[in-house]
């Protein structure tokens, strides 16, 4: 078990700052997911932790030891790559034992560790095959096994499931979660897939432009995104954003867009004073209720219906802006139909339009 502490980490390639003054504390046995769009620096950060990239400034501590200048092999880490990165000319057994032979461990110890890892990952029948003779899922198991046999405290995953098809991905996702529960290692997992992030993580670090935007548990990230970027990035189908400003409706603060007013009573956060400040209201599709027209709801027009099996996504025109709502399938709504919408202000998010921060 080991903690990871990253202090003021900076990495530049020439004039380009990929990571800027990055600080991150990872607790013992924690599963941290680094999430962000491509080019946000999440893989770079992982490579820095692994020691595969030299940092420009700052420190990295693993298990209380300053490893900033250490070689990857001396950092007590195991790493799993997106492309599996199995040595093609070696058998599975050879792949698993390569690192151990480099450590000059005794033969019996190597055998024992391979046997244990193979048992955990259920790749025992594959040990004498070459990587070319394995399927994608099997290859990734072997790649995980290669990290496993090293008997390290920290596992680093670099988009390990991105090369797999959807079905295998969800299977292996569960396996990785089970593995974490079983081993209780510290794990750092890089992905651009928010489902992986939300399902696996103890805490998620959402990154953009080399900066961590929000570091919190999945529920907080989902329900209280700290800024507009996180709100838009997390959630599928994504959050709808409505432009408007703050007004006062009968003494209580309210959100006004066009000629419609949405009450904000019970909003979870500090609503700014009713000074007409420009704001953006973010509403998740599942928090919008659709009722019949004229039944006290806010008027909207149905645009497009997207049935998705378990539920249905309805796109609507609301005060000249686009809004989506998640509803049960078979709702019988047709394009052009007038409906009345209901918002739950306790579950909405309000952002300042200039700073894009959540109130």
């Amino acid at each position: 078990m080991a903690t990871i502490e990253i202090r003021d980490l900076r990495l530049s390639f020439g004039a380009l700052d990929v990571l800027k003054q990055l600080n991150l504390d990872i607790a013992e046995g924690e599963f941290i997911v680094l999430l962000g769009p491509s080019g946000c620096g999440k893989s770079t950060l992982l490579n820095c932790i692994a020691g595969l990239l030299d940092v420009s400034d700052g420190q990295i501590h693993i298990g209380g030891r300053n490893v900033t200048w250490e070689e990857p092999k001396d950092r007590g880490i195991g790493m799993v790559f997106q492309s599996y990165a199995l040595y093609p000319q070696m058998s599975v057994r050879g792949n698993l034992s390569f690192g151990l032979k480099n450590q000059r461990l005794p033969k019996a110890e190597i055998e024992q560790r391979i046997a244990r890892a193979a048992k955990v990952l259920q790749i025992e029948p594959l040990l004498d095959r070459r990587p070319a003779a394995l399927s994608g899922g099997q290859r990734q198991r072997v790649a995980i096994g290669r990290a496993l046999v090293r008997d390290v405290d920290v596992f680093l995953f670099d988009e390990p499931l991105s090369n797999l098809d959807a079905k295998l991905r969800s299977e292996l996702r569960v396996e990785i979660k089970r593995l974490h529960q079983q081993l209780e290692n510290t794990m750092v997992y890089v992905t651009h897939d928010q489902i992986e992030a939300l399902t696996l993580a103890d805490r998620i670090a959402v990154m953009r432009g080399g900066v961590i935007q929000q570091l919190a548990d999945p529920a907080t990230i989902y329900n209280k995104p700290t800024n507009l970027f996180v709100a838009g990035f997390i959630g599928s189908p994504s959050m709808s954003f409505l432009d408007g400003h703050i007004t006062s409706a009968g003494g209580a603060p309210a959100f006004r867009t066009g000629d419609l007013t949405v009450p904000l009573a019970g909003y979870d956060g500090a609503v700014p004073a009713a000074d007409g400040r420009a704001v953006i209201l973010g509403v998740r599709p599942e928090h919008v209720t659709i009722g019949p027209d004229g039944a006290g709801g806010l008027p909207a027009t149905v645009d497009i219906d997207e049935p998705m099996g378990s539920d249905s996504l309805v796109w609507m025109q609301f005060a000249g802006q686009t809004l989506s709502a998640r509803t049960a399938p078979g709702h019988g709504l047709a394009a052009g139909q007038q409906v009345g919408l209901g918002f739950d202000p306790t579950r909405a998010s309000l952002f300042d339009r200039d700073s894009e921060q959540r109130f």
């Binding site: 880490i77 492309s83 450590q103 090293r150």
Partner: protein, 313 residues
């Protein structure tokens, strides 16, 4: 889709061909003598003949006696097959003071070839590996200089190298020539290996580093076993290049260690006595045999290696 005619014919044809619709079925028939094939294969055959005819003339001439050659029918097969010219070319032809034929040159060439090929490929592959995977400061500058080296005409460097070799006492020796060949092979071979190693996924290299392998560990245990095709290409390039070299051989060695090509020239271009065309032909074929054999036995690997290494920048 719902063409009424097809529907109608389906009903009729259903009995006859068990449910198949009218029209083409299975693979499209191809005519062997289509215009495309005739032009394609015709061109190939003509070009093949164009290249093979000189070889044919050489072989038949080398198997004739001098009286028969004097008749002038260079395309006619030998009436009386004789291997005497081959024997003479290999072990009796005179160049300068030595009269032991091409065999001397052959063994000289072998003694030049093997160390040159091994040395140049060993160094260039490590160069390429370092340039591709261990990016050091100034790597790009180093690489650019190396590539420019490939474009400098050899003639410019001949005399400076003569002086250099003289100063270190290797001028005229086989060792000197081996060094020259190794150096001149460096730019193109390094480029070849660098491009090949660049195409190896970077994650493989990273995984090996996490697994604790160092510079040589990764080179010998990961990279080398993966790069057989590019080594074959390098070997072919070097074997044919060095074997066929004439310029460096004649400049940097002395007559008793002349490579085979230089000796061949001396036999064929000797101005004394009768021109023995049959011996000359036999000597030429003997000299060209080594590259020919290399090409024959490595054809497929050669193509694979070229495709894998040389294309990607």
């Amino acid at each position: 889709m719902a063409n009424p005619q097809i529907l109608a014919s389906t009903v009729v044809g259903a009995d006859a061909v068990a449910g198949r619709l009218d029209g083409p079925t299975g693979p499209r028939p191809r005519r062997a003598l289509s215009r495309r094939n005739v032009i394609l294969y015709g061109t190939l055959i003509v070009i093949a003949l164009y290249y093979l005819l000189p070889l044919y003339v050489m072989v038949v001439t080398s198997l004739k006696g001098m009286p028969e050659i004097r008749l002038g029918n260079i395309f006619s097969p030998p009436v009386e097959v004789t291997f005497q010219p081959w024997v003479k070319a290999w072990s009796e032809a005179c160049t300068g003071l030595n009269c032991d034929g091409l065999s001397r040159g052959f063994w000289n060439s072998v003694r030049i070839l093997i160390p040159s090929v091994v040395l140049s490929i060993a160094i260039a592959s490590v160069n390429g590996y370092a340039l591709a995977n261990w990016r050091f400061k100034g790597a790009d500058v180093f690489f650019t200089i190396l590539i420019i080296g490939a474009f400098i005409p050899y003639q410019v460097m001949i005399y400076p190298i003569v002086i250099l070799l003289r100063e270190i006492g290797l001028y005229g020796s086989l060792t000197g020539l081996v060094i020259v060949h190794s150096i001149f092979g460096m730019p193109i071979l390094t480029l070849l290996f660098r491009n090949y190693f660049t195409s190896v996924p970077e994650e493989l290299f990273k995984a090996a580093r996490v697994d604790g392998a160092g510079f040589w560990g990764i080179y010998f245990r990961i990279m080398l076993p993966m790069s057989l095709p590019i080594f074959v290409v390098a070997i072919i390039l070097q074997v044919t290049g060095i074997w066929n070299d004439f310029l460096f051989g004649v400049v940097y060695t002395r007559p008793d260690v002349y490579p085979m090509t230089v000796q061949l020239n001396n036999i064929v271009n000797s101005v004394q006595g009768v021109k023995e065309y049959n011996v000359n032909m036999a000597a030429t074929i003997l000299t060209g045999l080594v590259p020919l054999v290399v090409y024959f036995f490595s054809g497929k690997l050669f193509v694979r290696g070229i495709a894998a290494g040389a294309v990607k920048g």
